[in-house]
Symmetry: C2
Subunit: 198 residues, 2 copies
């Protein structure tokens, strides 16, 4: 059988990929050793060997799904700052729409009872925020605590817009992207209006 | 003793108030029947009688803290829409700064392992969003699905700004309020720029 030719790392990666694919239709909580065992046609003992527990399986699946999202939206360093933000968001919107349940699981993973899942999801937020901060600092905005707080908060805004706007409406992707870019610009402009009026 | 003169409802309310007060310094998870029993000088049996379990105690405490926040920021119907939004946010910022840990627990309650706590916190978000939607609809903006999604997302933005901006910085309250008002206006304007350019 083909499966017999895979080495343990490849076998494990294949099982994780199957778990990630299950997020498209089912929430993370529905992913159990039993279900993956039946679906993959491998023994529960082998899954316990690879992942230790259901929690271990969840951590591997969330880590892989998260890194796929971050990779899919990796900024292109050659682009000018605003074009880079727009391009990153375009690819993020495409990822969200191509992997609907996956993104939902990632965003709602922040509400997971599992501290490791929450941390994995939170790290992605920090990375999204750092990408946005880099854009505005390159555009000449001072790298202040308030700019960082505001853009971290904008990531929370963008996540909600992506979950509700990308998944529950048929708003064209490019309009959603423009809305997100303009909202980031507006948030940053709000900070400076504050300074100017102070 | 004074305690003996309280009827059961008053006694229960007093115990809930003690639990809410504990959120200022300690996260919700630290609130146990044992700790409240020691702190209030009442038997664990009485606390089990009132709340059934630690979960029951947590639900009562989160409900009371949440309703205190919603009450403290209740919109004043006599004010014009934007003045009403500004006034509501001013009182919310004051509430957050007066009850630091409480608000943090409410916002982070969205990440609670307890489904009832998550639901109680989510209901508060829906109410905050409805208040903002009412403001912009009264200002003449069409009550569309996109307006609702955008203002629900703005609530997520505002929560992060309140947690990080109100609690981790010494930014004056009125600047934080102006920033939140301007960001809501900017988000709504972004939607219409989208329609205009479409």
């Amino acid at each position: 059988m083909a499966a017999a030719r895979l080495d343990p790392e490849e076998r494990r990666a294949q099982l994780v990929a199957l778990g990630v694919a299950s997020l498209v239709d089912h929430p993370l909580e529905a992913l159990t050793i039993e279900r993956l065992s039946a679906q993959a046609g491998v023994s529960r003992a082998l899954l316990f060997h690879y992942f230790g527990s259901k929690q271990g399986l969840h951590h591997a699946v969330v880590l892989t799904a998260r890194d796929a999202m971050l990779h899919a939206s990796e900024p292109r360093a050659t682009l000018e700052p605003l074009a880079r933000l727009r391009d990153t968001l375009s690819r993020l919107v495409a990822f969200v729409r191509d992997h609907r349940g996956t993104f939902y699981s990632l965003v709602r993973g922040a509400a997971s009872a599992d501290a490791v899942v929450r941390e994995l999801v939170d790290e992605a937020r920090v990375i999204h925020a750092e990408r946005a901060i880099a854009v505005f600092v390159e555009l000449g905005h001072p790298d202040t605590a308030l700019l960082r707080i505001a853009l971290r908060s904008w990531v929370a805004f963008a996540e909600e817009m992506l979950v509700d706007g990308a998944l529950s409406t048929d708003l064209p992707g490019d309009e959603l992207v423009e809305l997100l870019v303009r909202s980031a610009q507006a948030v940053v402009a709000s900070l400076e209006a504050g300074v100017a009026s102070a």
